[in-house]
């Protein structure tokens, strides 16, 4: 072990590697409910070459490696399930290129969402990227690789759909470039090449370490507005969302259902955010949205909530900082959520199942959804708060999360950024040949089984 420690120091410098109990404690867990798994080393590379050397060392010594961004998925995916090395990527945070004309940015994978957001605001104010509601320390790499979504997902889909290309270190140490950057100096697209990006997306860091990422940028319009459609009838929500998203006006559509404040309990609030270049465009877009759900307004099923302009800013904040405050509703410092990707038509079922599970387990909940594309799918979330200082309360939340993952699968959805038990639930339902193919790909890429082992595996 001491030898490995010395070799890691040689690679990244003394200052950026630790085997101390304090770091091993912190990096063994995240803010969710999963059990700790202790790393032997934590290392913070500063370049692709350093990542490569770490991977080569791990191969030589057959030590597991777990890449980590900000560990904000909350489902324990950056815990080293089999120990070994946690690679904290956040020192690789340089913004390498912004192409204003072709609207893309190339960043190191550990760049935080907040850093890119601030950089664009200052240096390229006409452009923005799709900001997830995760805290701003979340990394672009971590977010893209788990199929994240955000404030432009109604316009551009999952963040993986906004990925133009990437550079990665394979589990055997080769550095590869994926997308146009493998052929051209421009990181403009993944098409028309065979799309190898899929080898890294959704794999929870089991197929390599992404070191550079190119993502699409979008116009940052001078006028931004929000309309909130409020209704009580969950059965009508899919059609309302289909209509609103079908106007192709929105940049972001989210639904929020929360039991607090008490008056809001039972309401579905559908937030539609859109931008415009001019007042005329803004009015036109607002009219199109209103027109699309006219029937529901006429039938008094729902209506748009009156909003003062100072309130609008709060609803449009990216990332929405009030979301994290849910962790303190029980003065307990914790929440974890099941995010499940589902078709919009199952919304009523998803909503009712969530309430039922929360009530049965006696957990404090908040639910909602982000619409992806023109109503093509949604990420439906069930968040459960818990008191970190009370192990029984943590267990209660854990149980509710497990039941929710199962319920999501039963109604036809798929848990996103799935923790290990949820991964296994998915595998149980997966076409066996698909799972076999996944295994063959991993075996080819990672013959020594060093990359984040324990994920996407059948329990032995």
């Amino acid at each position: 072990m001491e030898k490995i420690y010395q070799e890691l120091k040689k690679i990244v410098g003394d200052q950026y590697v630790s085997n101390q109990p304090e770091e091993r404690f912190f990096y063994s867990r995240d803010g969710g409910t999963t059990e700790p798994c202790f790393p032997d080393f934590i290392v913070m590379p500063g370049s692709t070459e350093e990542v490569q050397k770490i991977v080569l060392l791990a191969n030589e010594r057959k030590i597991p490696i777990t890449p980590m961004g900000a560990a904000l998925v909350l489902s324990g995916l950056s815990r080293p399930l089999r120990g070994g090395i946690v690679v904290d990527m956040k020192r690789m945070d340089r913004i390498l290129e912004v192409n204003e004309f072709s609207r893309f940015a190339v960043v190191e994978a550990g760049t935080s969402e907040g850093k890119l957001q601030a950089y664009l605001k200052k240096h390229h104010p006409s452009l923005k990227h799709s900001v997830p509601d995760a805290p701003p320390m979340a990394t672009i790499g971590g977010n893209i690789l788990i199929h994240g979504s955000g404030h432009l997902s109604a316009l551009g889909g999952f963040h993986t759909e906004m990925l133009n290309g990437l550079e990665a270190v394979l589990p055997t140490g080769e550095i590869v470039r994926i997308g146009s950057c493998s052929v051209s100096p421009y990181w403009f697209s993944r098409a028309p090449l065979p799309d190898l990006a899929g080898l890294f997306l959704g794999w929870a860091g089991t197929t390599g370490i992404a070191t550079k990422i190119a993502i699409k940028l979008y116009p940052d319009r001078p006028l931004n507005d929000i309309d909130i459609f409020v209704m009580e009838d969950a059965d009508s929500v899919p059609d309302v969302i289909r209509r609103l998203s079908g106007t192709a006006v929105a940049e972001d559509i989210t639904a929020i259902m929360t039991p607090v404040p008490e008056w809001a309990s039972g309401f579905q609030m559908i937030n539609v955010i859109y931008g415009a270049e001019s007042k005329r465009e803004q009015v036109l877009k607002r009219d199109l949205l209103r027109e699309s759900v006219k029937k529901y307004i006429k039938d008094k099923v729902g209506g748009f909530m009156p909003l003062y302009s100072d309130m609008k800013g709060r609803f449009m904040e990216a990332p929405a900082s009030q979301l994290v405050r849910f962790a303190d509703v029980k003065k307990g410092g914790g929440f974890e959520y099941v995010g499940a990707i589902m078709p919009i038509e199952v919304f009523p079922d998803a909503y009712r199942k969530g309430l039922e599970i929360a009530e049965r387990n006696g957990v404090t909940y908040s639910t909602g959804a982000r619409i992806i594309g023109l109503g093509h799918t949604m990420m439906f979330f069930y968040a459960y708060a818990f008191n970190r200082a009370d192990p029984i309360d943590v267990k209660k939340a854990q149980k509710a999360l497990e039941e929710t993952n199962e319920a999501a699968l039963t109604i036809g959805g798929i848990p996103w950024k799935a923790e290990v038990p949820a991964q296994q639930g998915i595998i149980r339902r997966m076409d066996p040949n698909t799972f076999k193919l996944m295994g063959r790909i991993r075996q080819t890429l990672d013959p020594n089984g060093i990359m984040n082992p324990g994920n996407w595996e059948v329990p032995s």
């Binding site: 630790s18 970190r388 200082a389």
Partner: protein, 385 residues
């Protein structure tokens, strides 16, 4: 441990590491070390683990606690309004526990010993406290309106002394009625408190209060924002009844007297908010009011200003202990690069510790030709009188 009831409420979300623009890391110790453990959230989780006996007392744990610069960025930017005000208090409470256990870093222990034995961290005779005032004819306090309190860096550090002379000279020029304690002055104890020796702090505070009372002091004006903070916010707990000002508060009163200030050469100045005037005492405007009133000064803002300012790294005792250390990612050097980026000729400061930290950082960055550090009083005195 005090504040232990809030430790488990940290969600380790990391808002506290950043300024409000999210531009870059704004916690000096996390910026330097980059392990999560050195971030505010890291400290919260480690303190809880330590109390739960999941980790043991160790030199590494002590280093983590003592690398906090007490800058207050986490208090400002944590998104949990119900406990954020006590984040730094919890870190200091952790240090207090280490003091009780005798498990503090050697350099911190040396600091406390120096205060006990010499009355100052420089291990210099207290009779030298008035050395800074030599030759400028500053009166000793008898019954003037203000007591000008200088503090340890202003009394003993060469850079601090220069600033003390500028402030005293300027106050004299503006005919402020003030005096100093000179050889009779004692340490204000702010760093003693923040380093976790609350007992010693109480002694220092009570002694100063008693001395001021005996001398009939009604108004104190401090050179350092650190002393300003301690006297304004901590001393009243021990019975202090005098009013406390930072020297910029007095200077600001003279800025409408246009005939006092002369000279029109253009200078581009950017102001670095000292944590103990800014974030800890919410005064962002006094220094700017002064700089805006000085003829010929173009005041430009760095991206991180006011509540978002990146600390010089000298707070929390680090000015003396240097646990945070140097290097390209030390916050003082990052800050210098930021000041150069906005094209400033002068980085204006209002704290002797900031002045020293930044002068060293300019040397380390090899940028002495590009930018200079000047305290606000020095700018007025050297350029505009």
């Amino acid at each position: 441990m005090k504040y232990q009831e809030i430790l488990h409420r940290c969600f380790r979300c990391g808002y506290c590491k950043l300024p409000s623009s999210y531009k870059d890391i704004n916690c000096p110790s996390y910026l330097k070390y980059r392990f999560e453990t050195y971030s505010p959230g890291g400290r919260m989780w480690l303190l809880k683990a330590w109390l739960d006996e999941e980790i043991k007392t160790s030199p590494h744990f002590a280093e983590i606690l003592y690398s906090c610069a007490a800058c207050g960025n986490c208090v400002e930017h944590c998104v949990f309004p119900k406990f954020k005000a006590d984040l730094l208090n919890a870190f200091v409470a952790g240090r207090e526990e280490l003091v009780d256990q005798g498990a503090i870093p050697g350099i911190v222990s040396d600091y406390f010993k120096a205060i006990q034995l010499y009355g100052n961290p420089y291990k210099l005779p207290e009779e030298k406290r008035d050395a800074w005032a030599e030759g400028i004819g500053v009166p000793c306090y008898t019954n003037e309106e203000f007591l000008l309190y200088i503090g340890c860096p202003g009394s003993f550090d060469e850079r601090g002394q220069k600033m003390a002379r500028a402030v005293a000279s300027l106050l004299a020029k503006f005919e402020v009625s003030f005096g100093i304690l000179g050889k009779e002055e004692h340490c204000d104890g702010n760093e003693v408190k923040i380093l976790g020796e609350s007992g010693l702090f109480e002694v220092l505070a009570r002694n100063n209060i008693e001395q001021f009372r005996k001398k009939g002091v009604k108004k104190v004006v401090t050179l350092s924002p650190h002393a300003y903070h301690a006297m304004r916010n901590e001393y009243p707990k021990y019975g202090a009844e005098f009013e406390v000002f930072h020297y910029t508060h007095l200077l600001a009163r003279f800025m409408d007297k246009g005939d006092l200030l002369h000279g029109n050469s253009r200078i581009k100045v950017t102001f670095h908010d000292p944590c103990y005037l800014g974030r800890h005492n919410a005064d962002y405007y006094t220094p700017r009011t002064i700089l805006n009133a000085v003829p010929g000064i173009e005041l430009v803002e760095m991206d991180r200003n006011k509540g978002d300012a990146l600390c010089c790294g000298g707070g929390g005792g680090n000015f003396f202990t240097d646990i945070l250390g140097s290097g390209t990612e030390s916050s003082s050097r990052v800050r210098i690069r930021e000041a150069i980026e906005v094209g400033a000729d002068i980085l204006a400061v209002a704290c002797p510790k900031c002045a020293k930290m930044f002068e060293d950082a300019i040397k380390a960055e090899d940028q002495e030709d590009k930018i200079k550090v000047r305290d606000i009083a020095e700018i007025i005195l050297d350029e505009r009188l």
